[in-house]
C-alpha cells in the first residue's frame, strides 16, 4: 500500500469518527462549546466590546443592559469584555498544559510499555505513586518556589495529567503490542519506530484523546482555582478565576455580577468533559455496540476540583 492511499484511508476513518462524534448529543455539545470558546479567544485578540482594562468610575456597577450587556464591575470595567478576554487565558492554559501532558504522558507510557522489563516495571510503580499527588498541591509547591504564575498552573496540570495519561495509555499500549497486526508488522520487517508510528500510536490515539479532553477540563478548573487563590494569573491578566476573586469582595451587594465568570468556567469545563465522553463513545467499539449500557466510570481523574 502506498503512503498516499494510506493517508486517504486514515482521513476517511477520521471523518467517520467525527461524524459519529457529531451524531452524539454529548459530542456535539462538546464540539460546539470548545469551538465557541476557542473562537472567542481568537476574537479577543482583535476586538472586545470595550477595553477590558478600561476603568470608568462613573460607570461603576451598571446593571446588565445596553451597552454593557453583562454590566460593569467595581472599577467600571465592562464584564462581558473581561470575560471575552479571559477566554484567551483559559485557552492558553488548556492548550499548553495539554501539550505538556501529551509529551510526558506518551514518554512515560512508552517507557512503561516498550522497554526492558525492569525499567518498565519501575516506571509503572513510579506512575502509581505519582498519581496520588494532587495537582493543586504540586501547584502550591511550585508556587512556593517561583511565586504564582500561569506557568505554575500549566506545569502542574501538565505533569499531573501526563502521569495519569501514562497510566491509562500504558496498558493499552501493552495490549496493542501483542495484537496480530503489530506482530505481522514486525515480521514483515518494520522497524520498531515504524511499527510505533503506523500501528501502535493510531490504535492508542482514541484512549489518549479522551484523556486529553478531560485533562483540559481540569486545566480550566485549575486555572480558575489557582488564579482565585492568587497563585495563577497575574493581576493584569484577564482571567475568569481572577475576576471571581475581584467580584467576591462585593458578593453581598452585587451577587449577579459573580454569575457570569462562573457560568463561563462551568460551560467550558462541561464542554470539554462532554467532548471527552463523546470521543470515548465514538471511538470505543465495545461501547458503541451497547451504547449507554453499563458505561463504566472514568478510569481516573486527578483530584482537582478547584
Amino acid at each position: 500500500m502506498t503512503g498516499r492511499q494510506e493517508g486517504i484511508r486514515s482521513a476517511a476513518r477520521r471523518q467517520g469518527r467525527l461524524r459519529r462524534l457529531w451524531a452524539l448529543s454529548t459530542g456535539r455539545f462538546g464540539l460546539i462549546v470548545v469551538a465557541v470558546v476557542a473562537l472567542t479567544a481568537l476574537l479577543s485578540l482583535f476586538w472586545t466590546p470595550f477595553d477590558p482594562a478600561h476603568v470608568d468610575i462613573d460607570a461603576r456597577w451598571l446593571p446588565p443592559g445596553w451597552p454593557h450587556l453583562l454590566g460593569t464591575d467595581a472599577a467600571g470595567r465592562d464584564i462581558l469584555s473581561l470575560i471575552i478576554a479571559g477566554a484567551r487565558t483559559t485557552v492558553f492554559v488548556a492548550v499548553s498544559s495539554g501539550v505538556i501532558a501529551t509529551v510526558i504522558g506518551i514518554a512515560l507510557a512508552a517507557l512503561g510499555a516498550l522497554t526492558a522489563r525492569w525499567l518498565r516495571e519501575t516506571v509503572a510503580v513510579l506512575v502509581d505513586i505519582l498519581i496520588a499527588f494532587p495537582v493543586l498541591l504540586v501547584a502550591m509547591m511550585l508556587a512556593a518556589i517561583w511565586g504564582g504564575s500561569l506557568w505554575v498552573v500549566v506545569w502542574s496540570v501538565g505533569i499531573g495529567f501526563g502521569v495519569s495519561i501514562a497510566r491509562v495509555t500504558r496498558p493499552e499500549l501493552r495490549r496493542v503490542l501483542h495484537t496480530e497486526f503489530v506482530l505481522a508488522g514486525r515480521a514483515s520487517g518494520l522497524t520498531p519506530a515504524q511499527n510505533l508510528r503506523r500501528h501502535l500510536l493510531p490504535n492508542v490515539a482514541p484512549v489518549f484523546f479522551v484523556q486529553l479532553s478531560w485533562a483540559m477540563a481540569i486545566a480550566v478548573l485549575a486555572e480558575a482555582g489557582l488564579s482565585y487563590l492568587g497563585l495563577g494569573a497575574a493581576v493584569t491578566d484577564p482571567s475568569w478565576g481572577l475576576l471571581l476573586k475581584d467580584l467576591q469582595q462585593y458578593l453581598t451587594v452585587h451577587p449577579v455580577a459573580v454569575l457570569w465568570p462562573g457560568l463561563a468556567i462551568t460551560l467550558t469545563v462541561l464542554g470539554l468533559n462532554l467532548l471527552g465522553d463523546g470521543l470515548r463513545e465514538a471511538t470505543d467499539p465495545t461501547l458503541a455496540r451497547r451504547r449507554g449500557r453499563a458505561r463504566s466510570a472514568r478510569t481516573h481523574q486527578p483530584e482537582l476540583t478547584a
Binding site: M140, A144, L229, L244, T252, A297
Partner: protein, 316 residues
Amino acid sequence: MIRYALTRLVLLLVGLVVASALIFLTLRVLPGDVAQLIAGTNSTPQQIATYREQLGLDRPLPLQYLDWIGGLAHGDLGRSLLTGTPVVDELTQKAQVTLPLGIMSLVIALLVALPFGVLSAMWRGRGAGTGLSVGAQAVAAVPVVWAGMMLVVVFAVWLGWLPAQGFPRAGWQQPVLALRALILPALTIGVVEGATLMRFVRSATLQAVGEDYVRTAAAKGLTRTQALIRHGLPSVGLSVVTVLGLQVAGIVVGAVVVEQLFSLPGIGRMLVSDVFARDLPKVQGELLVLTGFVLIVGFAVDLVHRAIDPRQREAG
C-alpha cells in the same frame, strides 16, 4: 490477604519516601538559598553563613533529608521561618477546622451521590433519569469557588440562615457556632464532589443491573428494584469504596480553596498564606502531611476493599 497487605504496605512506604524526597528536593534545591531568603537582601555574608549553620544548610543534602525524616519519626516537622513555632503544633491546631470540614464534606458527598446515583441508573431512559445525569454532569463542572459563592448568596445573603464567612474565635468551645460556620463550606465541597461521585455510583449500578445474579434474582420472582437492592447494591457499595481515595484527595484540595473563600482558619488557608510568605520549611511540612494523608487513605481504602470484597478474597 496478608501477602496482599504486605505488598501494599511496601508500596505505601515507597510512596511516602518518594513523596517526601520529591518535596524535599524541589523545595530545598530549586529555590536557591533559604538562608539568603531569611536574612533578606540587606544581609552581610556572615549573617547568611550564621543562618545557614543554624538551619543545618551547610551539611550535605542527604544528611539534611535524613534529619528532616528523622525528626518526623518523633513528631518534629521543623519550625516556621517567620514565627519560629513548631510546624506540628500549628498543623494540629488547624486540623481542628480542616478535619471536621473534610468529614462533613465526605458525608454530604455520599448523601448526594448514593441515592441520586442509584436513582439515575434505575430511571435510565426516562426523563427523570436523564435529568439527574445531566444535572450531575453540570454540577461536576462547577468550580468549587463559584459553588461556594452561590451558596453564600442564597443561604447567607438572601435567607440569612448561615454565616457567610469566618469561624468563632473560641473554636469548638462554642460548638453550635463552629458547626454553623462549617455547614456552607462543607456543603460546597460535598455537593461538587458528590456530583462527581454520583456518576461512579450510576455506572456501578448500571453494571450491577446487568449482572447474572441480579437477573437471576429477578427471574425468581423479585421485582427489578428488589433484586437490585438486595443483590446489586453490595457491589455498588464496593465500587464506591474504590473511588473513595480519589474523593478524599478531592476534598483535601477543595478544602484549600473553600477555607480561603470562607476565611476558615484551617490547614488549607495556612498553606496558601505560607506559600505567599515563602515560609519554605513550613510549606515542606504541610505538603508532606497532606500528600502523606492522601497516600495513607489510599492504602486503607485498598485494604478495606480487599477485605470486604469476596471476589477479591478468593483471588488470594
